[in-house]
Symmetry: C2
Subunit: 325 residues, 2 copies
């Protein structure tokens, strides 16, 4: 099970590979939020999302013989690119099973990073059966997107960096808002904060209709989403929290925050104009929560992850045309 020792070991393996992203801010965002907003832009991470950290952590933790046979992953895009790049860096093959309706940029990039991409139809095909057949045939190791200790450890390195930067600024109490799908990033950050910044509290942020983690935390048991597709926040619409991530979030996280898809798009537009960052809608839900759910947040400062920036131009420009200042 992931613990702080495993996260620190992942940080050592990631050193010189994952980018140490800065903390950004804007007086214009502070004014909207009514408190200081510090943004951790993981859209600037390699492959355009935090997923590279967990993927590299997991691939680098495999023993050499296992790794040499290759890895396989299921992903709508960001985990796919992370695994593809990590595998390429180790010179081993990767197979990524992606839904046919994933954003084009994510499919193209995954291929360009050297992965063999297998597309399936979400409605009619069983991705697990496809994956199982390929894995047994080629001896591939499955890299799960979130419910996997070494992936959680890699994502947790973001929490180490936030804790270090918060301490340098003298901030000892604050909410840390995290874009949340299956909970790998949220639980990893929560574990790091518990160890290095116990006054900072991780809180999962989700889009309306896909708030399984918020409802699971509120009810004390794992809840599923009614829908499993059909959101611009494609990066974070997993069906339910993970069996490993949920108990960690239950023990350490504050209540979940839920924003509308329009609020996420508004945050995309504000990240464009105020931070000069490209955020994808799912990667902007935590920023949206900081800006538009200020009454549900505690403290004079708030930390926000922008978890990814892999957005197609038409979606991005639609957000700007509706919300750009």
């Amino acid at each position: 099970m992931t613990d702080i020792t495993m996260i620190r070991a992942a940080a050592t393996r990631l050193a010189g590979h994952a980018r140490r992203t800065p903390l950004l801010s804007s007086p214009f965002l502070d004014e909207i939020a009514g408190r200081r907003v510090f943004v951790k832009p993981e859209c600037l991470q390699h492959t355009g999302s935090f997923k590279y950290r967990g993927a590299r952590s997991a691939v680098s933790a495999l023993d050499e013989g296992t790794r040499a046979r290759g890895v396989i992953a299921f992903s709508s895009g960001n985990h796919a690119q992370g695994v593809a790049l990590a595998a390429r860096q180790f010179g081993v093959p990767s197979v990524i099973i992606m839904p046919g309706d994933a954003p084009r940029m994510k499919i193209d990039n995954t291929r360009a990073l050297g992965a063999e991409v297998v597309l399936y139809d979400r409605a009619t095909e069983d991705r697990d059966a496809i994956g199982a057949a390929l894995s047994s045939e080629r001896g591939l190791t499955l890299i799960k997107p979130f419910d996997e200790p070494q992936v959680i450890a890699g994502q947790g390195t973001i929490g180490l960096e936030i804790a270090e930067d918060a301490a340098a600024m003298g901030i000892t109490r604050a909410d840390v808002l995290v874009c949340c799908g299956g909970g790998g990033l949220t639980s990893g950050i929560a574990l790091s904060l518990e160890a290095d910044a116990p006054g900072l509290r991780a809180r999962p942020c989700e889009p309306e209709g896909f708030d399984d983690v918020a409802r699971s935390l509120a009810s004390g048991e794992i809840k599923r989403n009614a829908r499993t597709a059909g959101s611009l926040c494609d990066a974070i619409i997993t069906p339910q929290p993970g069996n490993i991530t949920f108990p960690i979030m239950q023990r350490l996280c504050g209540p979940g925050l839920v924003v509308s898809e329009d609020e996420a798009l508004h945050a995309v537009a504000l990240a464009f104009s105020r931070l000069k960052l490209v955020a994808e809608p799912g990667g902007a839900v935590a920023l949206a929560a900081a800006l538009f759910r200020a009454d549900q947040i505690e403290g004079e400062a708030v930390f926000v992850t922008i978890s990814g920036g892999n957005v197609d131009a038409d979606v991005f420009c639609d957000a700007l045309s509706r919300f750009a200042v």
Copy 2:
């Protein structure tokens, strides 16, 4: 006159205020350029451009009594915002004289940062007369946009950071491409590289029709542009190199590089998709040169400044609709 001692002193004054921007890269950009491309994203600097460095350097170098009376600047936008923020941080008034056709975002932001904005008509009004009257009336100190030693020193701090990062990566010979208007950024970086990374060579990059610096360097004397407006690269269309900046560039810089406006817009789209950065057209000319003038560049790696990201949404989305991958 600006020298390395003055630049190091500016770096000390800027510490804890200016952001230490990271170096970013993408395998997709490397492939287009045919060499490794390292991008210094000053669009992530406070106020969305490198100009804050020079402005804060100059305002912080004033003696207290002079500074208290306030500062004045002429600017189409980025220098304006830098001076406005620096003045506000010192609690002193700022007056910014801007052309009425400057991008709306730049005018609005300058006002929001606390400056008194005076708009003038480029065609019919004399900005120098307007500025002189205000200055003498109120005892304001003029902060010039580039031909000012302490401004050059502030911009030069970017060169110190590039030199440090290049050394850490073991890169000792490379071209450093710099978006160039009046030459403040280019000459400042050139001075820092001379001292700290003598194998790295600064090269000014400009849009077609506004290549006064390239022509001045080629001919050995200061040349003017025929036009003084009418480019999407509004940030860098000064009429001619400065009297202070030109001799520095002449002594230290390699030949200028010139790209078309369409190539700059193409680079804007690639910064969106490959770096998750918002670059303004003028801020993307150096990236455009790295990608589309590869045959005029030397070395296995190239450094590129993205000088700013203050672009209106319609211009940005026009670039994406034409060039996004």
